[in-house]
Amino acid sequence: MMTRRTVLGAGLALASACTIAFGECGASARRHRERRSIDALLIDESIEMLRQLPAFITASGRTLPVVGIRLDAAAHAGLRRVLDTSHAIVGISLGATLFCLERIAWDHGFRLTGRSQRCATDPGDDACRHDVAAYLSGMHPLAAMPSQLIRTYRPSRADGLLHTWVMQKSASPQLRQGRREIHETAA
């Protein structure tokens, strides 16, 4: 379900990720954070490790909306609000979730601009932590992924892996801009 479980201020995910879960980031990360404005961190609620992330983030004192995502109707309503109001989002999810989310986000003008699936079976391993921290901190160049990974995510045997990704609004307009007015409701 999409919930704004932690609404603090931008960049906090970085702090939490660096200091608590994802190793050292330090001044370098802060510099990068200034350069890039990430509007929300989307986390796949089907992953146990990620459920703990908001608690880490809360402890940091920095702010960034952290949004839980699930593949159901209730989550979709909240997701649309985030997509309508954001320009850049970072996410951590299973591949199957990314596949759906990316297609929904297209209609809101977003394009996948970075993705990593290096953290494979163990989201707690060092490579994974560093990867996630890099995305959250802005140390990971937004368009530095190989082009075949950037264009779109396609289902594969990697669906069950943990994917870290960035989406940004493109120059294209939003095809979906919230629900339109209702002409008539009869009770």
């Binding site: 109707a73 979730t97 297609r103 779109t152 289902p155 594969s156």
Partner: protein
């Protein structure tokens, strides 16, 4: 970018300029990055010269703009291809049926035009998704339920026009059958309303389906005779309760009296909820193209019979199941409504099926609706509760086929008779094909009772990014179509790559149906601008030029 056939660059450019003047420059898409999104992710022709791709896309805001766009398309002979949300992966998605078409993207038209709790209907534009409609009803606290397909991100209107189905009560499951009233922009740019909607100021457009004169709504299902801009649907009141009931029987051939008895209950409108057929011998159900996840510990003897490369010997399987105390068949029923109605329906099921020796019955807890959030969170399949989800994508990692990543699937979907004999025959026929080509299918596949009077036997086939493997899958589908047609089984829906193949088997009286559809096409769309090739219907100039 591929130009539409028989259109000059000058005319194409002029048409795009005119399109933009109607919708605004920002709603005309010609960049490669944007057009990439109008490909079908599950296309069985991905990356091949025959993959159907768009030359441009244009996104109107309202029906009046659609009218203007259609007139421009006629002026320059530009093929246009309306899509609603374009999420129908494997059945074309957002891709046109004819390469070079301009996609008419109707996502912006996402108004819920009217919703009426008293009479139980809604009128929607093409861009309204099941998520949108569900969330609106919840937010407004309306006492209405919707029937949803899986996945639920698609358009309510588009799903119905494609022949989509859901999983709740029989009168609502066939989404086109649940529609009442269509507004359509015809290929000549004229707007028309069907049924009572043809009466200006009609008060019963969404209440009386037949209208006056011929009922032509069906002409807009799986066709290309216009751009549907509004559609009404009957909705159901929220049921008070839900329960599942399970009937098991011990013998393989019990399927024959089982289907007959349930059929009579359905024809009598006693059983209205969806019922599903499975076999406890298989442990957990498998899903084509997905790893099925950890299965229950299965008896090695049963497993060996199920995986016999020569095919499953049903007598052996039945005997092995009996030795382990397993029934052969299980039927899961869904019941909705007041408690006393559910209990009465269950009594009728028991009465009808107790004639089958060894049949056992279990009615599960009758649960008050709506279910509390914590229960919904634990429920994998929310479709029976009228709640759209995308959980069908979360069945587990895709597997590989022929050494290639499976990236999606397409369905071979024949309609077979509602009899146990047909079930036995279809299971045998399709299992043989699955073994022959080592398809990633579960050892036993079962028909679906989505339709009221016939079974659907959907076989999921893997789609890869390998042209060689995809070509093999296309050959398998041709074989399946031929085998099925020999038995009198036809498909109800197919991927664009197979429109002509499937239409070809509906050949009674020297293809009279196809010729009738083409006659209508020539009459209403003489320039052939509307979705050429969709469901194998083309205007004369394309037929004569041999353009498919």
């Amino acid at each position: 970018m591929k130009l539409p056939p028989n259109v000059s660059q000058a005319d194409f450019s002029a048409a795009l300029k005119a399109f933009a003047s109607v919708v605004g420059d920002q709603w005309l898409f010609t960049a490669e990055e944007d057009l990439e999104l109008y490909r079908d992710s599950y296309s069985i022709l991905w990356g091949e010269p025959d993959e159907r791709t768009a030359s441009a896309a244009v996104a109107p805001d309202n029906a009046d703009q659609v009218v203007e766009l259609v007139k421009i398309a006629n002026r320059y002979r530009i093929p246009i291809y309306p899509i609603s949300t374009g999420k129908n992966l494997g059945y074309g998605g957002a891709a046109p049926a004819l390469t070079g078409s301009v996609v008419l993207d109707l996502k912006r038209m996402n108004r819920i035009v009217e919703i009426d709790e008293r009479h139980g209907y809604v009128v929607v534009e093409p861009g309204v998704s099941y998520f949108d409609l569900y969330n609106y009803i919840q937010e407004q606290g309306l006492k209405l339920w919707i029937d949803v397909p899986s996945p639920g991100w698609g358009s309510v209107l588009g799903n119905a026009l494609d022949g989509g189905v859901g999983v709740t009560l029989a009168p609502y499951r066939s989404h086109f059958d649940a529609q009442c009233g269509i507004e359509v922009v015809l290929p000549n740019g004229r707007m028309m309303r069907t049924g009572m909607g043809a009466l200006p100021g009609a008060k019963t457009w969404q209440q009386f389906k037949p209208g006056f004169g011929p009922r032509i709504d069906g002409l807009f299902k799986q066709s290309n005779y216009g751009v549907v801009t509004k559609m009404g649907f009957w909705l159901m009141p929220p049921p008070e309760n839900h329960a599942t009931g399970v009937v098991t029987t011990p013998n393989f051939r019990d399927i024959i009296p089982l289907v007959d008895a349930i059929g009579r209950l359905e024809q009598s409108k006693i059983v209205q909820g969806l019922w599903t057929l499975s076999s406890p011998t298989t442990g957990t159900p498998g899903f084509a193209a997905h790893e099925a996840g950890p299965s229950k510990q299965q008896d090695p003897k049963i497993l060996a019979i199920l995986n016999d490369p020569g095919g499953i010997d049903m007598d052996q399987l039945e005997a092995a199941a009996k030795s382990k105390g397993l029934p052969f068949w299980a039927c899961d029923f869904n019941f909705y409504g007041p408690r006393k109605l559910i209990e009465a329906q269950w009594d009728c099921v028991r009465d009808a099926l107790r004639e089958i020796p060894g049949a056992r019955f279990k009615l599960n807890e009758i649960r008050r609706l709506p279910l509390p959030p914590e229960e919904l969170a634990k429920t994998r399949d929310l479709g029976p509760f009228g709640i759209p989800t995308l959980r069908t994508f979360d069945l587990g990692p895709m597997i590989s086929y022929e050494g290639e990543d499976v990236v999606g699937h397409i369905f071979f979907s024949p309609v077979i008779p509602r009899t146990g004999e047909a079930v036995i025959e279809a299971m045998d026929v399709f299992a043989a094909i699955a073994r022959k080509y080592k398809l990633p299918c579960p050892p036993l596949q079962f028909p679906s009772s989505l339709f009221e009077r016939a079974f659907l036997f959907a076989v999921g086939l893997p789609v890869t990014r390998s042209a060689t493997v995809n070509a093999k899958i296309r050959d398998i589908i041709r074989e399946l179509v031929a085998i099925s047609a020999e038995r009198g089984w036809g498909e109800y829906r197919t991927a664009p790559a197979f429109y002509d193949l499937i239409m070809g088997v509906y050949s009674f009286s020297e293809h009279a149906l196809r010729e009738f559809l083409e006659t209508i096409k020539d009459a209403v769309d003489p320039n052939g601008i509307m979705s050429p090739g969709r469901y194998a219907i083309r205007s004369r100039h394309l037929r004569e030029a041999g353009i498919v």
